[in-house]
Assembly symmetry: C2
Homo-oligomer: 387 residues x 2
Amino acid sequence: MAAQRIFNFSAGPAILPPEVFERAAAAVRELGGDGHAKGAPGIGLSLLEISHRSQDFGMIHDRAVELVHEVLGVPKTHQVLLLQGGATQQFAMVPMNFAAPGSTTAYVDTGAWSTKAIKESQAVAAGGGRGHETAVLASSKDTGYDHIPALPEHLPAKAATAYLHVTSNNTIFGTEYEAMPAVDLPLVVDASSNIGSRPMGLERATIGYAGAQKNLGPSGVTLVWLERSWLEREVPAGVPNILRYASHAAKGGLLNTPNTFGVLVLGLVLEWLRDKGGVAGMAERNQAKADALYTVLDNSDLFAPHVPKAHASSRSRMNVTWTLGGAAEDGREALTKRFLAEAGAAGFSGIKGHRSVGGCRASIYNAFPLEGVTALCEFMTEFERRA
Amino acid sequence: MAAQRIFNFSAGPAILPPEVFERAAAAVRELGGDGHAKGAPGIGLSLLEISHRSQDFGMIHDRAVELVHEVLGVPKTHQVLLLQGGATQQFAMVPMNFAAPGSTTAYVDTGAWSTKAIKESQAVAAGGGRGHETAVLASSKDTGYDHIPALPEHLPAKAATAYLHVTSNNTIFGTEYEAMPAVDLPLVVDASSNIGSRPMGLERATIGYAGAQKNLGPSGVTLVWLERSWLEREVPAGVPNILRYASHAAKGGLLNTPNTFGVLVLGLVLEWLRDKGGVAGMAERNQAKADALYTVLDNSDLFAPHVPKAHASSRSRMNVTWTLGGAAEDGREALTKRFLAEAGAAGFSGIKGHRSVGGCRASIYNAFPLEGVTALCEFMTEFERRA
C-alpha cells in the first residue's frame, strides 16, 4: 500500500522545502566544501562537529547574512545578527537595550504575541533605574483580535517615544498588516510569521526580528536586523553583555557559539527562496493559496472565517483561521471535533486552531504547496455537503 | 585513492558519535515514530517541520530530560531545562535571578570562561536597585591559569553569599576540577566542557549548566538543572519573563519554541552514552586517552604541557594543552607553525590552541576515539625525533 501523502499545516516549527531537508541531512552526515555549496565534495566532518570559528562555518555564516540582505531586502544600513532565544527573547532585549528611562515604548496589540511583548516591556520597566512607560496605542482585543487596528490620528511625540512595536502577522488569530505602518517613529517589527512571504518593507524597521521556524528555517535561530546607528546608543546600566546588540555586532554576530545547524539551514532556505523568484515570486504563490481558502470560507454556510470579509485587508496570507458554525450552538464543538478528526485521517496535519482559541487554522507558509491547499478546499467543500 | 581518515580534535562544537550523526540526519529527512526510537517507522514528516507542542516532539523532549536524570545523574530534586543562548547566557541569568541586593556572588577564576561569568555578575550589579557584590575568592591568573586554585580557608559567610560559581573544566588552558568543591555554600557549576565525561558529583550543584556542544550535542541548546526549591525564590524586579528560570519551569521547559533539533540530538547522545556504559564507562576511556597524551608530554624535551606535572590533579581529561619549546626562543613560533601544518596535513584537525593563548590543544571529548589519540602520540613522538 502506498503511504498516504501528508500535508503539513503546522503553525511552526513549520514546513520547509524538501530540497532543504535533503541538503540539511547531508550536512549532518558530512558537510560539503565551500560552505556546503551544491555539488562541492565533502570535508570529511559533520556540520555538527566543526568549530564555529572554523573557515568552513565562517563561510556558512557570512553567506547566510549576505542572503538576508540580498533575498529578504534588508538594507546594508542594518546589522544582521543570527541569535538564539526566539522572538520571545527579543520581546525583552528590545526594551532592555532601547527603552531609556523617562521614555515611552509604544505598542500595537494584535493578540497573544504583542501581549507578550508588551508585558516584557513592563517587566523591564519595573527594574530600578529604568522606569519607562509602556503605552498601547491601538488594540483589536474587544472584537477578538479579528482585524489589525488603525493607529490613532495623533501619535505620541517622537522625542519622548523610544519606538513603536508591531507584530506584522498574528499566527493565532490570522491577521496580518497589509503594509508596514508609515509613521514618523522608530519602528520595531516582529516579523516572525510572515517574513520572506512577500515584499513587505522590512527596510522601514529600525529593528526587526523573526524566529526562523516559519519561513526561514528550523527553531533555535532568530534573525535580527537593526540600524547600525542604533548600535552606538547608550544602553542602560545593568544589561549584561550577552543581551546587548552592540556586543553581538562588535563580534560580527559570533559573540558566543551560535546554533550552527540553524544558521546553515536558514542559509539553505534563503537560497531556495532566491531560486524560486525571491519574495516577489513567493508573494504570488502565497496570495493564490490564501485566496483559495478565503473563497471557500466566504462562500460557506458552515465555515466562518475568524477575520470577516469586511476586514479583508487584515487577513493573513500565512495563517487562515476559521470556526465551524451553521448547526445549533451546542453542536458546534462536536462538529469541529469531527471535522478535525476527519481532516487528520485524510492527511491534513496540524489543522487544529491554537490551544488558546480553538477552531481551525491552516498555516500555509512559503514551502506549503498549492496542491495541499486545493486538496483542503475540496475536502472542506465535500465535508460541508455531507454535514 | 582512499580518503584520508580525519581525527577531529575541535574544542567545540565537537565530535559526536557517528551513530548520532546518522540518526540525526535520518530525523531531518523523516522523523521516526515513538520519539524517533530505533527501528520505529517514519511519521511522514521531518523533525524540523513539526510543532514543539506536538505529541511527537513531546516524547523527544520528555525522553531527553529523563535521560539527563538517568544517565548524567542529575537528581530529581532538580528541575531540568533545555534552553538556548549557550553557557554565556547563563553567566547572566544566574546573577539576574539569584543575586539579591546586598548579597555577594562568589567566583573562582580559572580563566576566560570564569572571567566572562564574573563580568556578567558585575554588569547585572550595575543595574539600579541591584547592587550585589561580586567577589573572586581564588584565581590562578598569576601563573597563566596553569592549575585550579585552592579556595581560601575561610569562606565568606553563608547568609550573605548568594552562591559560589566554578567552571568545572577550562577548555582554553586545559584545567579541570578533580572533584566538585565541597563547601557549605550554594554551588553554581558551569560544566559545559566536561559534563558526561565521568561521575563528577553534578548533584552537588544547586544550579548547573552546560552548553551542549562538547559532550552532549550540537550547539544551540543549553542544559540547565537547578534545585526546585530555588524556583520559589523571589527574583529581583526588572528581570523579564523569558530570563526567569521559574517561568521556564512553570511551562515544563517549553515556555517558548526550543531548539527542537538540538533537543533531539542531545537525547540521541545521551542514549549512546547510556549504551556505552554511562559516565563510569566513559571515565575509563577518557582517562586512558588523557594519560596517553600527558605521558608523551611529560617525557618530551620538545613539547611542554601547559599544566605542569606538579599540578597533575588540575589536568583536564578533555582538553590537553601544550606548547613547543626546546629550540631557541626565536625558533618556537616557526616550529609551532610547522608542527600545526604537518599535523593538519596528516589528518589531525583542530589541534591549534585557542586564539587567545596560542600553542596546541587536543580536545578529546567522549566521542573522540582512542585510536586518534594513539595516532597523535605517535605523530608527536616522530615529529620530535625529526625536529
